[in-house]
Amino acid sequence: MDRDAFLARVRRRVDLGFPPNAAHPLARVDDVPEAVYTEPLDDLVGAFVAAVRRQGGEPHRATTMEALETVLDDVLAGAGTVAVSADPEVALVTDLLDDRSIDIVHPRGANELADVPIGVTGAAGAIARTGTVVVASSRAASRSVSLIPPVHLALVPAGSIVATPSDWWRNMDDRHPDGPPSQLVFITGPSKSADIELTLTVGVHGPKRLVVVVWEG
């Protein structure tokens, strides 16, 4: 069916009107309200770190390069290869990775990541309430570095953390002045499934470990 015919059919039906439900009448609500949370939130970084942990991620705070180095060594744990995205935050660890004579993969596609154990990305931002890391294809230049390897290390600038998902979604124009990127992903914890007897298992398709470093340097 072509577009005009499809839409004309829908329009004819819409024009029939919407018979009211007498038992449960529809009530007009003038605004599009946001969630009001039961718990207050004053410390964005603290709340974010707590929420990442609650979601099964591994949060760290780093104010110095030494602290960052410690986390990095812990995550690398002798790995010989890491893949990196093009996010600007990745520059923070480029020298550290160079010093460790690790193969750094700048992938040109998902297939090159099949055997890479760790993906390192930055973040377009983060959400404190939910412990969410926001990755955008526009700045990462990649959809798969944060997806294919079994470990995802995300570097989150402390200043990029907002309080709630609403703060992101209701300010899309400010966050993405050129329009939304081709892919924007809110990552909230490691990959999970409960499809076998509702038993929680991690790492079904996405990463088994989500390591998040909040960079406060």
Binding site: V32, P33, Y37, F186, S191, A194, I196
Partner: protein
Amino acid sequence: MSDDLRTRATEALADRGLHEALARATDRFVEIRRAGDDVANLDALKRAARWQRHRVMERLPEILERFADAVGRAGGVVHWAADAAEANDIVGDLAARHAVRTVVKSKSMLTEEIGLNEALEAVGIDVVETDLGEWIVQLAGDRPSHILGPAIHYTRERVAELFSARAGEELPPDPEVLCAYARASLRERFLEADMGISGCNFGVAETGTVVLVTNEGNGRMVTSVPPIHVVVMGMERIVETWDQLDLMMTLLPRSATGQQLSVYTTQVTGPRRDGEIDGPDELHVVIVDNGRSHVLGTGAHEMLHCIRCSACLNVCPVYRQIGGHAYGSVYSGPMGAVLTPLLDPSPAATELANASSLCSACHEVCPVGIPLQDLLLLRRADNAAGGAPAAFRAWAKVWSRPAAYRASIAAVQTGARMVPDTFVPSAWTDGRTVPRPRGRGSLRERLARGEI
């Protein structure tokens, strides 16, 4: 649809294993949903959501146009499918044009509704479901029994058998091991797939964005790895603005799984852009009507507001007893009992309105306030439009006269003490006992005597 509702329900009720699995799953879903209660103004949000869903439906043609234009500007291609056959043809043509041999899919109820897998398989395409639950069901040659947990009717032992048969080696009934096997097997399929097919939780018209929620990450894989991404989207699965999306996304994961957000909320606006190293070269969005437009203009139009959270399944006393398969439809539980006959008004579908106790627990949990029990009643009234059975007509006649009403109550008072439970051999009395009155006389008489 095979057999009738009664046969399917009777089979389900006789299946003890199914009963245990259903009780465990639905209890667990209800329990985790309670745990997600961190929002103070949930009721206000639900009222607003009902109104906003209505606002979208009132302007659906304009909003769909706005969405389609925005998808086009972002480099995607929009297709319009009047029915299942057209939708399957569109996807089939795309597959043929790109010589597609393997398709990976993330979970989509709509593709089950239109029978897309069967249509693609009929032309020799290998279709792989990648949601763990859907994959289990696919390997077993079965159908999903719950929107969120397609394989909740399977034990770990049964999953181990299925996976062992595929692997050619013995796998233990350990969810960790089984999950790792699924990851490795499906990973290969993702990397070799020529096309990814997903559903759509919401389209956002103002930017032409397709929003998908998954916990496993298969939604991300399908939209990131294969060279072509096809979105199959019900025409009502749309909002106009990001404010509305925010409202819906506050409600959807909380109502579905008690999560504040699903693990992955994937927001796709067009295919891969210049300078990006991965992502599909082409994005196609197939907008499907398949009976939906005919729901507009009827008293049941609010069914199009449904956001497929499945909360109504878990609280439904009927679903909890008979499970998803007994509904004989892709959609089960209260939402399925309403939606299925709206999309396919065959006698087999319309009798689904009887699969309800009208307790309205579904209405209470619905995040967008769909009065499901009213819509079930509407369907029952339609079903009875040919005229009520003679016994009911006589009953109505008697009870519309006060003297006859009183006489009938007196007769029942006496009769109910005398008749055996098996006085009318029928399916209705099989599951019920005759109520035995306590004390002497009717309620009115006892009240008049001051006994109560």
